[in-house]
Symmetry: C2
Subunit: 132 residues, 2 copies
Amino acid sequence: MKLITRNTDYALRAICYIAKENKIVTAPELVKVLGVPRPFMRKILQRLSKEKILESHKGQAGGFKLNLLPKKISIIQIMHIFQGQTGLDGCFLKKDICPNRGKCILRKKIRVIENNALTQLRQINIAVLIKG
Amino acid sequence: MKLITRNTDYALRAICYIAKENKIVTAPELVKVLGVPRPFMRKILQRLSKEKILESHKGQAGGFKLNLLPKKISIIQIMHIFQGQTGLDGCFLKKDICPNRGKCILRKKIRVIENNALTQLRQINIAVLIKG
DNA sequence: GCTTAATGATACCATATTAGTATCTTTTGT
DNA sequence: ACAAAAGATACTAATATGGTATCATTAAGC
């Protein structure tokens, strides 16, 4: 049960760092601070700026800064970006052969648990993470 | 965020079916009822009997039955069998370069959410699933 | 304007996990 | 003896994730 993936993890740390520094931060700087492989970090940053979480500046003295207030970035957004729909995996078995005749208790229970987790994740934002 | 995997799903359905029938059930019967590929189902059943969830009987008129009361089988046990430790993914970054100086808020928050999910999963057992 | 240091875009490779298959042996009721 | 079941084990395929490489584009600063 892995809630967040490496991608997401790196992305969140990068965002936290940028939020704390509150200036334009370059990829090389993040690579150095976070110890993440350079091309991988770059890929993540590109994705984040494409998704409008970060704002990028090209050219010399370029880099990235936040495009939103820290409290407006919840970790669930980042999960969405790197892990796709955080949702509710569909039933593996076709409905009509499901032993529970369509009313799949298992699925229902799992869904509740997943929704609880999602609700909790929704409440964690970057401001929370950097304040401690 | 996939709480349970296909393996686990199939295993749970097989167990539910066996629990409901309350008799010795053969692999071919489960294959037919659940529509799962035969060799795959067999593999799962073998695993379950090796783990003492099911009790197996060889030879003609053989098959599987439960080795425990339905309410004594929680879905978290099955997850453990097919998905390994349901635990808490460690921090990807080495502690000393973690931007939060060792007190990793993100990790702490995630851990709480995971534990909540685990607690909820622990309460779902086969008896609950077959009763509805 | 040229150089340099940055990001953008894209295509590719590596690894791990999960899903699924094949085959042969052993057991047991009839 | 035979048939029908499970046991054991080794293999293959698909998918997701993690990571690399390369070239183009942009813009600051001399």
